[in-house]
Every structure is written in C-alpha cells, then in structure tokens.
C-alpha cells in the first residue's frame, strides 16, 4: 500500500496500524491489586464492571436455582416462606441492579472510547467514582444477609420484592434494617449509574475522532447515548422515591404512610416510572451488541442505519409514557387503561423496525455461524416471542386476568434471559478476544449455546402455562391438586440445564484465558475502530489519532478500492 493510497482513515494505512505487542504488567500481587483499585483507565474499569457483574450473575443464578428447587414439587419444605421471600427479592434486585446495569456499563466503558477513536472516557475520575460507588451499593446489599438483623433475628436480607411496594416498606411493617439496606444500596448504585450516564453522553458527543459525524458513529455508542438519556430521566425518580422512603423511615415522614394520609399508589407510580424505562435501559445495550455482531457475521453493513437510530430514540421517548401498564389491576379510569394500553402497543413499532432491520441485514448475507452469531440469531427469535406476549399483556382486559401470575414472570424472563442474557453471552464471545487477546473455545461455546437454548425453552416456554392456569408469582409453595406440579418440575429441570450451560461458559472463560488460541488484533474480520488496535489494546488506545470517513473505517482500510462513504 503506497503513500498515495486515498481514503486512509488511520495514518499510514493498514501497515500503519499500531501492532505493538501488548505487554503484560508484572509486579507483586499487592502492586497488581493496587493498580486495579486506583485505575482511571476506561478499559480496566470496564473489566472491573464486567467481572463484578459476572460474579453477581452467579450469585443471583444460585438464588434462582434455590427458588426453582423449592417450587419443583407441591408442599416443598426446602426453604421457609420467609427465606423464599428474601430469595426472590434478592434475585430480582441483584439481577437488575448488580448484574444487568453493571455489565452493560462495563461493555460501554470498554468499547465506547475504542469505537469512537478516543483516548479515554470524557471524565476518567468520575468513571472510577461511579464504579466504586456502585460496587459499594452491591456489597452493602449483600452485607444485609449478616448485618440486617431484623425481628426474626435470623439475619435478614430484604424481603419486600424488587418493587418494594409501600406501605410494606414502612417502619410499621418492616422493622429492623432490611429495607434500609435495600434503599441505601440502590441509592448508592443509582448515583453510580447517573454518573456513568453523564460520562457516556459527554464521551459520545464530545470525544469523537476526526470525521466521525453523528451519522457515522457506530450504532453501539449511539444506543448507549440513548440508554444514558433514559438512565438520567428514569433512575433519578427511583433515587427520589428512595429518598422519600428514607425520610419516612428515619425522620418520621408520611410520604407512603397510609395512616397519615400517605399514598401506597404514589409509590407504585414512582417505582414504575423508573421500573419500565429500566427494561429499555437493559435491552437497548443488547440491541447495541446485536447491531455490531449481526453485520460482521452476515458480512454486510447494517441495514437501515438511520432507522435504527431513530427507532432507538423513539423507544426512549415512548418508554417514558407506559409505566402504568404495571398497575392495571390497581384500578384506573377507562381513559387511563386505554391510554396505557395504546402507548404500550406503540413500543412494538420501533422494536419491530429493529427486528426487520436485523433480518434484512442477515438476508442475502454470507452468514458465519460462529458462537456470537448463534446467540444473536436465538436472540432475535426469542425477543420477538417476548414482544408478542408483551402485546398480550398490554391489553388491560387480558392483563386483569394474568397480572402477577407466572405468565408475567415468563414474559419478562423471556426478555431478560432470552434477549438480554443471550446478547450478553454473544457480546462476551465477540469481544473476549479483544479484551484478553485470546479466543474463547468454539467447541465449548457451541455446547454452551445449545444447552442454553434448550434449557431456556424448557424453562420459560413451559412457565407460561402454570401462569395461565392461575399460579401467582411470589408464592413459596402450592397445593398438589392445582395441576401445577409437573409443569413446575419441568421448569426447574430446564433451570438446571441452563446452570450447566453457564458452568461450561465459566470454565471456558477461565480455560481460554490461559490456554486459548491467540486472537490477534482483528479475529472476526470486523469493521469498527476497536479492531484496529492490538488485543488487548495498549493503555493509550490509539498510537495516532484515527480519522474516519465512513461508518466502517476498517472496511475502508481493507478495501481502499471500494469505500463506504459514497453509499452512506
């Protein structure tokens, strides 16, 4: 490649790419630990976020298995009713706040500066602060197991469910400190989330490399910017509501104190004003991963880039106006019912646009069925099914029949596991080589994928049925004559198949870290800037500031005769 080669996004062309051999830091254990604790590097913080979330994923997974053991047969006495309440509260709270948000922020932290050609996030120290305060929140929540001695004295984690409806959380009904641990830990991790959201917005809009106009930002940073906006307007209300709860519990306030005229419904409104947009905070990063992975393994540019951006922004705004569909059975006017039914159904338009765009990207592509692509394809199918039950539940009349039943539990686990967890796995397979410099084992990956798909469908397809038969959520046991026994046994069995799949994945992560095939800078023949730097990337990210002229700078670099810019 000569010096006169045109359209070179990175100084010096493909030979000019930084191919410095990544050096591993050596030092005593104390020095290594110290370097991780004081780091402000976005890559190290990203790894910290992801590791923190994966540890809690295992913890909350074990809690899910304990729940499933208890429910597998009628009249089971595996755990007590009180422990069961703690288990599902901690499972839900952990999965949303200590797994979902941190892992997504972890990928965002790691990838956004690399994808937009920046040296670091806009505010590296704020970044470190956000991680450590979130981590403090998580540790505080789990400290409640030993520190929150409640009335029973058995050591008490919170037992008020993840939405913690008032007035159950008031001092009169929840004495002791269980709810305090819950509220304070969520305030702490909420501050961390807001800090990270501010950081991501500033990074995406203010740190882009030369040539990366708004319509050339890869879709992952774009979607993270949208997610960050939702975090700002949705997590803040939760923080406000938690502050009110603490005022009630510690200063004798009456916000949710029904004896003094306070309203239990107001808490429900405040919680779901946070709670529903939170679903999109979790699912949009999953979309973002799909937007990066599906084109690379279909060997085509993403179909409908502007439509993808517009649909994401539309989801953000619609998501702010649908919260009361969680509250149809609380009782609303018929106008309220109609409004929230319609606004909820509106969500299916932008999500439908996204689904068709992914399908159109795959259509006619030269598909490579590597593990990340397998997870992505399963994601599309499962997300569509989750969306269909979502439309069913949005109809208020149907919702009255199935509210708080296992049908709802099956629906949202279809989104959370079938879409989000699947895409998190896809992302881990896809970017693990970039982060560690080594490939994850493909054979183990296939085992992981197929066991996961089979286990997932055994569990969550079946779970819809006891819901339709009337099984309510959050019950610790049930009568034998209800006809739910066999179904619950099947659901539990599927849960254990998924657990085996996850164990294979954990083994794969550890094994490949030491023994995996060396990845090189660009193992997937991909197109975004993170693949132009060595794996793992050097501390400084880019040896020279990149300049881009299209959405796929590495494509331009590899195919100087067929540049993207004229087609965008």
């Amino acid at each position: 490649m000569g010096t006169d080669t045109p359209g070179i996004p990175i100084g010096g062309g493909i030979e000019g790419l930084d191919r410095t051999r990544p050096h591993t830091t050596r030092g005593t254990y104390l020095e290594v630990v110290h370097s991780w604790v004081v780091t402000v590097d976005h890559k190290k913080l990203g790894i910290l976020y992801i590791s923190y979330a994966l540890i809690f994923l295992l913890v909350a997974g074990v809690e899910a298995l304990l729940i499933r053991i208890q429910l597998s047969i009628p009249h089971n006495t595996f755990v007590s009713a009180a422990s069961f309440n703690r288990l599902f509260t901690m499972h839900g709270t952990t999965m949303v706040f200590l797994v979902g948000m941190p892992i997504l922020f972890g990928f965002g932290n790691y990838l956004i500066p690399l994808m937009i050609g920046a040296r670091d996030m806009a505010f590296p120290r704020l970044n470190a602060f956000s991680f450590w305060i979130s981590a403090f929140g998580g540790i505080l929540l789990y400290y409640s197991f030993i520190g929150g001695v409640g009335l029973s004295g058995t050591g008490s984690a919170p037992d008020v469910a993840w939405f913690a409806y008032a007035p159950l959380t008031e001092k009169a009904f929840s004495p002791g400190h269980t709810v305090d641990y819950w509220a304070v830990s969520l305030i702490a991790s909420g501050i961390g989330s807001i800090g990270t959201a501010i950081n991501i917005l500033a990074t995406v809009f203010c740190m882009r490399c030369k040539g990366m106009t708004l319509m050339r930002i890869p879709l992952l940073p774009w979607l993270y910017a949208v997610v960050s906006f939702i975090v700002l307007v949705a997590v803040s209300p939760l923080t406000a509501a938690q502050a009110m709860l603490m005022i009630d519990r510690y200063l004798g306030g009456h916000f949710f104190d029904t004896q003094a005229g306070g309203s239990a419904i107001l808490w429900a409104h405040f919680f779901w004003i946070f709670g529903h947009p939170e679903v999109y905070v979790l699912v949009l990063p999953a979309f973002a991963f799909a937007n990066e992975i599906i084109p690379v393994f279909s060997r085509k540019a993403i179909f409908g880039y502007p439509a993808m951006v517009a649909a994401s922004v539309a989801i953000a705004f619609i998501s702010l106006g649908v919260w009361a569909h969680h509250m149809f059975t609380i009782g609303m006017t018929s106008f309220g019912n109609a409004f929230f039914t319609l606004s909820t159904m509106l969500v299916s338009i932008p999500t439908g646009i996204k689904t068709f765009n992914w399908l159109a990207t795959i259509w006619g592509g030269k598909i490579r069925f590597e593990t990340p692509m397998l997870f992505s394809i399963a994601f599309i199918f499962q997300f569509v099914i989750a969306g269909l039950t979502g439309i069913m539940l949005s109809i208020s009349a149907w919702n009255w029949q199935t509210h708080n039943s296992y049908f709802v539990v099956a629906h949202f686990h279809y989104v959370l596991v079938g879409a989000i967890v699947f895409m998190i796995f896809a992302a881990l397979y896809y970017w693990y080589p970039k982060i560690t410099g080594r490939m994850l084992d493909d054979r183990l990956g296939k085992w992981h994928f197929w066991l996961m798909v089979i286990g997932f469908h055994i569990t969550f397809d079946t779970m819809h049925i006891p819901g339709l038969l009337g099984m309510p959520r959050q019950i610790y046991t049930y009568e034998a004559d209800r006809g739910w026994g066999t179904l619950n046994m099947i659901v539990s069995a599927g849960g254990f198949i998924q657990a085996i799949a996850v164990l294979i994945f954990v083994y794969n992560m550890v094994h490949s870290y030491f023994r995996g095939e060396t990845a090189g800078a660009d193992p997937w023949d991909a197109w975004t800037l993170e693949w132009s730097v060595p794996s793992p990337p050097p501390v400084y990210n880019f040896a020279s500031d990149p300049v881009v002229s299209s959405r796929r700078p590495l494509w331009d670099l590899k195919h100087p005769e067929d540049q993207d810019a004229p087609y965008e």
């Binding site: 505010f123 203010c206 740190m207 803040s236 009110m244 009456h254 881009v548």
Partner: protein, 197 residues
C-alpha cells in the same frame, strides 16, 4: 476509488461540543427528574392532611429571598461576561455579589424554617404538608448550598489570582448549574407559595 471523502474530512474544521456543558446539561436533566418527583408528591398531597397546620395558615411568601435568588442569575451573567472579556476585577465583584445574594436567600429560608419549627411547631413528621414541604424546599436549599460552596471555591481562587480568562468555560458550566437552581426555585415558588397556598 474516491479520494474526495477523506480530503473533505481532512480539510473541514473538526468542532465538538464542550464536554463540560454536555455533562452539566445531563446532570441538570437528571436533577430535573428528581425535582419533578418531589413536586408531583407535593401537588398530590395538597389538602390531604389528616391534621393541621395547613399551608394557608402558616406560610408567608418569601419575597426577599426570591428577589435575591432570581436577581443573582443576572449578576452571574455579568460575571460570565466579565471573565470572557478578561476583566478579572469585574468578574470577582459580580461573582461575590452572586454569592452574597444566594447567601441572603439561604438566610431567608433559615428564618422561615426557624419560625415554622419553633413557633408553629410544624416539623417534617407533623403531617403530610410538613413532610412534603420540608423535603421539597429542603431539596432545593441543599442545591443552593452546593452551588454556593462551589462558587466559594472559585471565589477563593479568584481572590488569590488563580482564576484566569482561560477558565471562562468552567465558570460558564458552573453558572449553568446556578441558573438551574434559580429556575427550579421558580417552579418550587409557584407550587408551594402560589398554587399550594
């Protein structure tokens, strides 16, 4: 093969928004959401008290504080203007006037709270009005305090000659926060002292 795109890119000036402004705008968005929730709670609980006192009985319109706080926004604009044009003496003057006006507002709130707590015996645990009033007005007052502390830091640097015209953008970001604190007071004032009374 086309050389046009890259040359185009190389030649065009590359301007990005200020990260300080974007970050402060984001923070203000988040804070607005928090205030919205407290305002919603205040409005929802108006007139639902089981026991007195009611706002109409005990609240007086805090004219002095409101005038001071709202006019401080004008003086901080003068300070921003001064530092942009490198007139550091004027900057220090307008900056100190802003701080003074903010402090008077805070003193006015303290006087109001003293009267309510000591003489009227309205505390945060008395009734719904007490709970919502002290949380909403207190939330705003805590923002005033944070703003004042940050402005005092800048003021201390200005007195020791450490603030230079190069810091104009940082000063503007801080001023943005102060404008937000002012704007929120317009809402809180309307809700608590006009609608609620």
């Amino acid at each position: 093969m086309s050389t046009i795109p890259l040359q185009h890119v190389e030649n065009e000036p590359w301007r990005l928004p200020s990260r300080g402004v974007v970050a402060m705008a984001s923070l203000i968005t988040a804070e607005s959401a928090i205030f919205t929730i407290f305002v919603a709670a205040y409005l929802y609980y108006l007139g639902r008290d089981v026991v007195g006192p009611t706002p109409r009985e005990v609240l007086e319109i805090p004219i002095l504080g409101t005038v001071c706080l709202l006019s401080s926004s004008f003086f901080i604009v003068l300070a921003e203007h001064a530092i942009t044009h490198a007139r550091m003496k004027a900057f220090t003057l307008w900056w100190s006037v802003t701080i003074l006006l903010g402090a008077i507002f805070l003193g006015d709130t303290a006087r109001e709270w003293y009267k309510l707590i000591v003489h009227v015996h309205l505390t945060i645990s008395t009734n719904l009005f007490g709970t919502t009033f002290y949380s909403l007005v207190g939330l705003h007052a805590s923002h005033v305090i944070i703003g004042l502390l940050m402005m005092l830091v800048v003021f201390a640097f200005a007195l020791t000659g450490k603030v230079e015209p190069a810091h104009a953008e940082r000063v503007k970001v801080l001023a943005l926060y102060w404008h937000f604190v002012d704007a929120v007071w317009v809402v809180v004032f309307t809700v608590v002292y006009l609608i609620g009374r």
